[in-house]
């Protein structure tokens, strides 16, 4: 469906996208993951024909976006980072305009009504877009992308700025769409990719650093064990006892206190899960465990780990709290 080959985009001296290649099959739902400024939007803008690449090519269903833009664009529905809405139109007028713009050959009223129902906009059809809330605007943006029933749908950060309930709704919607469409979405939230996508392409500083099934990625994340454990008990004894457990490399007492428990950072050997031995040890000494959490599931740590994994080096995550998404 989408074939991107050696895509390079240079802005002046800066490479926004530096030699990216990937292929996306029919009906796949793929997440582009990366921090802000990694090149996700640029990649999407090139695929949809908004920007031209400095070199390399992007093909939609075999049609090159630069050589035959109109044919390629007619197969794409695009929701840019900021939904392209005209504030002076009502939702209905706007969707009709997009319908004309894309020169659709469907039955107009039926098609628009169907989309309006899918994105749950039915109660806002007569309202001016300017007066809609952020969540509604985003839905109009999604509706716009769906008009014409394009084979490929590209969503650039579809859940940014929405409240938690709306985020869940949009994710569910995207999952529904993936039954009949190929979907590419970008995000800087790991949990979003895990919730929605089958496959993830991780981009950092304009380069792909991982391209794999979401389940594989989850495994990679869990591979290097770093846990923060909070245990009630005499600090010295606990630290020593923990250090004696087979497979635990280092135990660091952070000195951080939670009620009458102290926090320890535990690093175990690769491939060894220390959680059960820790529990057994504490049960033996009747030290209560108040908390045990894996560390380094934030995007930055994952990058470091993925890059290190490729280089065959044992990963060292940043000493940071797990990200709550």
């Amino acid at each position: 469906m989408v074939k991107v080959e050696h895509l390079v985009k240079r802005f002046g001296q800066n490479y926004a996208v530096n030699d990216i290649s990937f292929e996306i099959g029919n009906g796949e739902i793929v997440g582009l993951l990366g921090p802000n400024g990694a090149g996700k939007s640029t990649t999407m803008n090139i695929i949809t024909g908004y920007l031209s690449s400095t070199s390399g090519s992007a093909k939609i269903n075999g049609v090159d976006i630069l050589e035959n833009p109109i044919e390629a664009k007619s197969m794409i529905g695009f929701l840019p980072e900021q939904p392209p809405l005209y504030g002076d139109m009502t939702v209905d007028e706007y969707l009709n305009f997009v319908f004309d713009l894309k020169a659709c050959s469907f039955d107009r009223d039926a098609h628009i009504s169907e989309i309006v129902n899918v994105v749950k906009l039915a109660d806002a059809r007569g309202r001016l877009i300017r007066n809609l809330s952020k969540g509604y605007k985003q839905r109009v943006g999604i509706a716009q992308a769906l008009i014409g029933d394009p084979k490929l749908i590209v969503f650039d950060e579809p859940t940014v700025g929405l409240d938690p309930k709306q985020i869940l709704e949009v994710r569910n919607l995207i999952r529904t769409l993936s039954k009949n469409h190929t979907v590419i979405l970008s995000t800087h939230i790991l949990a979003e990719v895990q919730a929605v996508c089958e496959r993830v392409i991780i981009i950092n500083q304009g380069k792909i650093i991982a391209d794999e099934k979401t389940s594989e990625l989850t495994k990679a994340i869990e591979e290097g064990y770093h846990y923060e454990v909070k245990i009630c008990g005499p600090t010295k004894d606990v630290a020593q006892a923990l250090g004696r457990i087979r497979g635990i490399k280092t135990v660091t007492s952070t000195g951080e206190r939670d009620a009458d428990a102290y926090a320890y950072i535990i690093e175990s050997d690769r491939g060894i899960d220390p959680r059960k031995p820790i529990f057994n040890l504490c049960a033996e000494h009747s030290w209560a465990i108040l908390g045990m959490a894996p560390m380094g599931t934030d995007l930055e740590s994952i990058f470091i780990r993925l890059v290190d994994r490729d280089n065959g080096v044992e990963a060292k995550p940043k000493q940071k709290q797990p990200r709550a998404h």
Binding site: G49, Y50, L51, S74, I76, P80, P84, D100
Partner: protein, 235 residues
């Protein structure tokens, strides 16, 4: 292309710009008509259209200032540029929408001259020539306007920039007053001056070279607008 044209026409009337333009253009046109013909008891066509050309030079930038700058500011251009529409179609749609507004108000203004028919001998051919000339000049101004509006995302800069370029095209002929006779630059300036060429029409000549001049200046600016959008994708 038709979709963009329709949306553009609509947006003139959902905002204030369309109404402000029509009200001012028609009101000023009416006042000028009164002064140049009714009050001075003459069936003079030339001075009305000369004044109206100056009015157009000020008013048309207001009509075109929004066309691309606003799309860029609100990022709606991303919708147009990723839709299956050619750049040429997009630029022409905007150009034609502004031209429709201008042509409509110009035709209404020209109808004033029907009042004079019972009382004076109005030269119909001369009248039509003047309408055509003003239409051509307006077309040129609109092309300049959408070109400048594609350069910036600030409407005010677009309007002021357009007026500045139009002013240069208008007054370049006046520089000739300072130049010695038979100096070669005089010839160049006369060729380029919109005003000098317009005078030929108002005086009753149908000047084919001027017709071509207006059409080609328009074509150049429309082409440049398309090129700007084509070029911007690479930056």
């Amino acid at each position: 292309m038709l979709a963009i044209y329709k949306r553009e026409m609509r947006s003139y009337f959902t905002g204030v710009i369309g109404y402000v333009f029509l009200v001012l253009f028609l009101a000023i046109g009416g006042a000028i008509f009164c002064f140049t013909t009714l009050f001075s008891m003459s069936a003079d066509i030339t001075s009305f259209f000369t004044y109206m050309m100056i009015v157009s030079a000020v008013m048309l930038p207001l009509l075109t200032m929004k066309s691309f700058s606003d799309e860029r500011k609100t990022k709606t251009e991303q919708l147009l540029l990723t839709a299956p529409v050619s750049l040429t179609g997009m630029v022409f749609a905007k150009f034609l929408a502004a031209l429709t507004m201008f042509a409509g108000s110009l035709i209404i203004n020209s109808l004033y001259f029907l009042i004079l028919y019972p009382y004076a001998s109005v030269k119909t051919a001369n009248l039509l020539g003047n309408v055509l000339a003003l239409l051509l000049v307006g077309m040129t101004f609109i092309a300049i306007g959408i070109f400048v509006s594609a350069l910036t995302e600030n409407q005010l800069s677009a309007a002021v920039g357009t007026m500045a370029i139009i002013l240069v095209f208008l007054v370049i002929g006046l520089v000739n007053l300072l130049l010695p006779a038979n100096f070669w630059l005089r010839y160049v300036f006369d060729c380029v001056s919109i005003f000098t060429r317009f005078q030929a029409f108002t005086n009753g000549y149908f000047d084919l070279s001027s017709l071509l001049y207006y059409l080609s200046v328009t074509a150049v600016f429309v082409y440049l607008t398309i090129r700007i959008y084509d070029r911007r994708r690479y930056n």
